[in-house]
């Protein structure tokens, strides 16, 4: 049977706007759900989605992707890769599936909102496929994670994390709700598909896929790069929105949406992907550093696309470039220190050889973070276990929910940012997070950080054990040092399994 070329019928077939007679345009497309920028249906007619696909083609392409991912997994299922993998790599799998399986699902209502409330037919069409994409990402990643549930209880978090009150879950829900549930279709197309999916997901789903392939985890590498092929398509929804907005004099508002979302997602992704690539991936399998992946996917690729569409770099761009050098190093150290509060076993990743790699990739690493790890290693060797865990929780930001980190040593450059609003003071990790709050304090005023919850008495008893139970992290799920501190004895760095000297008296 002969088919017409898609280009010959596509524009006509997806021309599904009509003039409502029984309701007003605003009743059909309420601005708070559809378009806060106030463009008319006619203005949205100019929307032209650049990555077109028909339903027939979609089904065909997606079935091939699934056949590929599931068959690679089936072929490698008996290879016992997991059992033989380094504990750091096992932690990457726990971290990835826990953080992402249901976060993908939280994107389904976002795509669905665009599919129903988008005023452009092309947006509705592409977002329908986008919603199916995100369901696929949820299902396939839960399926892959399930294989490991018998290996470690920590894989349960793939199902569980996002419905807990763990700091990571609160931070993720807050960012995704601000991006998806709390935005109209036009704004969320920019915040979700453009700022997140055209940018940062590349780091976790392609950067990490490269490391996975080097580590020999072809099943995982193939899975996550397959997920990113869907993102490559539906992430194009937002770019087309930007063109319509700029053409209709809404550049400033569009820019603000990009700037808010880019920063919120950056705060999440340096926490998620930074430690995975620079510390948890076994040294022998590393190639590019996290910074180099950012330079490839964010600086050279995403930022370039942003400028080409007619927008400016976010106003905090210089600080963003600076933060690439330190955010995830401080973040990793922090996570390792509060490792009981996470569902994977953080690998310190600071043996002598790993330090040499870090110093080469980030000149000055030893003088900043290495000095702190020296103290921790010394505490390990002297059996000062009480010093290996925090006595209190770190200060958390009222927007991103993540730790207020900075560069150690350089006069401890940490500084506070706060805003007085209503009856209280809100604290922020950085100027961009404070800027986001100050734009719309009413939007954010009722959100309580973990620290707020502790001070308000939501967490009882207000100690570490009470906090862990509030996080719904039970014994067996809580993180421990991935290599049982072997890295603290430099002479054992190359053979973590070797017997270590008895600990010196403290």
């Amino acid at each position: 049977m002969a088919f017409l070329n898609r280009a010959d019928w596509y524009d006509l077939a997806r021309a599904t706007n009509w003039s409502p007679r029984y309701v007003s345009e605003d009743q059909l497309f309420p601005p708070e759900m559809s378009d806060r920028f106030g463009l008319s249906l006619e203005q949205w007619e100019a929307y032209d989605e650049p990555f077109k696909i028909s339903y027939r083609e979609y089904v065909d392409v997606q079935s091939r992707k699934d056949a590929d991912a599931y068959s690679v997994r089936a072929a490698l299922a008996r290879s016992n890769f997991y059992d033989n993998a380094d504990a750091g790599w096992q932690s990457i799998l726990k971290l990835h599936f826990g953080a992402l399986c249901l976060t993908e699902y939280s994107a389904v209502p976002g795509e669905s909102k665009m599919a129903r409330f988008g005023k452009a037919p092309g947006m509705r069409n592409m977002a329908t496929f986008g919603a199916l994409d995100e369901m696929r990402h949820t299902q396939i990643q839960l399926y892959f994670a399930h294989e490991f549930v018998s290996k470690s209880r920590q894989f349960d978090l793939a199902q569980k994390l996002l419905s807990t009150n763990s700091w990571a879950a609160i931070a993720t829900r807050s960012a995704m709700d601000d991006t998806i549930l709390g935005r109209d279709a036009a704004t969320l197309s920019i915040m979700l598909t453009f700022a997140l999916e055209q940018g940062f997901t590349n780091l976790q789903f392609l950067g990490l896929a490269a490391d996975a392939a080097r580590a020999g985890d072809f099943s995982f590498s193939n899975l996550i790069s397959s997920v990113q092929t869907d993102e490559a398509r539906h992430s194009q929804i937002g770019g087309a929105t930007l063109k319509v907005l700029i053409a209709n004099g809404k550049k400033e508002e569009a820019q603000r949406a990009v700037d808010i979302s880019f920063w919120r997602q950056w705060r999440l992704f340096f926490t998620l992907t930074g430690p995975a690539i620079d510390y948890l991936t076994p040294l022998a399998h590393r190639d590019k550093s996290f910074k180099e992946f950012i330079q490839e996917f964010i600086v050279a690729q995403f930022e370039r696309a942003l400028v080409d569409l007619g927008l400016e770099r976010p106003w905090y761009w210089d600080f963003f470039l600076k933060s690439i050098e330190f955010y995830h190093h401080s973040g990793h150290l922090e996570i390792w220190f509060v490792r009981q509060t996470v569902w994977w076993n953080p690998a310190a990743g600071v043996s002598a050889a790993e330090r040499a790699w870090l110093e080469a990739k980030y000149p000055g690493w030893n003088a900043k973070w290495g000095r702190l790890w020296d103290v921790i290693a010394d505490n390990v060797r002297h059996g000062r276990t009480d010093k290996l865990y925090p006595k209190t929780l770190p200060m958390l930001c009222n927007i991103c929910g993540l730790s207020v980190g900075s560069i150690p040593h350089e006069g401890h450059s940490n500084r506070g940012y706060w805003t007085e609003f209503g009856m209280r003071r809100y604290y922020f990790c950085s100027e961009p997070c404070q800027w986001i709050f100050n734009l719309e304090p009413l939007r954010y005023q009722d959100h309580k950080s973990v620290i707020d919850r502790l001070l308000c008495g939501d967490i009882q008893p207000p100690d570490i054990e009470g906090t862990l139970r509030y996080f719904d992290l039970m014994p067996g799920e809580r993180g421990e040092d991935a290599h049982d501190y072997a890295w603290a004895w430099p002479e054992l760095a190359l053979d973590p399994a070797a017997e270590r000297p008895s600990q010196e008296a403290a």
Partner: protein, 102 residues
């Protein structure tokens, strides 16, 4: 920030493709479909980055000749994990491009 500026000031476009048969065919096809252009191919084991300046076209007929079988351009979507520049996706070709030159 000299280093970062170097990354920003580029006019690179092109696909980032999961490694395999299609990626190999695209590497061959872009040289034929974009005569006179220089391509940089970066193999990252899980994905291949194929880049050139300004514009990069991949034509269906070229892919068919290389693969020796019918090829629907949407098959590229099975392995197209990311790309630099903007995209134009037609049944006859995919095109990656930038509208402004830096």
């Amino acid at each position: 920030m000299t280093e970062a500026t170097d990354f920003m000031l580029n006019n690179k476009v092109g696909p980032v493709i999961k490694t395999g048969e299609i990626a190999d065919a695209v590497i061959e096809a872009v040289r034929e479909d974009n005569p006179g252009k220089t391509f940089v191919i970066e193999d990252n084991l899980a994905y291949v980055r194929i880049q050139t300046d300004g514009e990069c076209i991949i034509r269906r007929e070229t892919m068919e000749a290389i693969l020796g079988r019918p090829f629907n351009m949407q098959e590229l979507g099975v392995v197209l994990a990311s790309f630099a520049g903007q995209i134009e996706s037609e049944s006859t070709h995919f095109r990656f491009y930038l509208t402004r030159t830096l």
